[in-house]
Point group: C2
Chain length 76, copies 2
């Protein structure tokens, strides 16, 4: 089964020790989260440093991935 | 040429009226930003609601894109 966080979100991957990419369900809608977490009493809890994307925003972001990669490779 | 923001960052795309994906150079390092902005005196300025990914974090995130898409399609 998948790894879930303290709020029931699916942890898709870790970007760093404290940063996670998640998919969650909130009030009937799906959100993709990219967020920093902190540890408290053995749990990893979300901080304000991050953003939750709606599915529409996620689609736009996904479409931008090749452009982002091009810009990075061109070294700005 | 590309659209740039108030801090010289490259605006790759808009996710919503206030949310942008950017690529920036800061102290010699490249960052991918996903952030909410607010309007002040005709400029769009960044808020704390967002995250800046290092290139290593960006690579991990990019690799996770197919998994995120699978999870969304499976409707959790």
């Amino acid at each position: 089964g998948r790894t879930t966080g303290s709020n029931g979100e699916i942890i898709v991957c870790k970007l760093s020790d404290k940063r996670r990419v998640t998919v969650s369900l909130f009030k009937g809608k799906v959100y993709v989260g990219i967020r920093e977490y902190y540890e408290k009493e053995g749990e990893m809890l979300p901080t304000q440093k991050g953003i939750s994307l709606s599915v529409d925003q996620w689609k736009k972001f996904k479409e931008a991935v090749p452009d982002i990669q091009d810009i990075i490779k061109q070294r700005l």
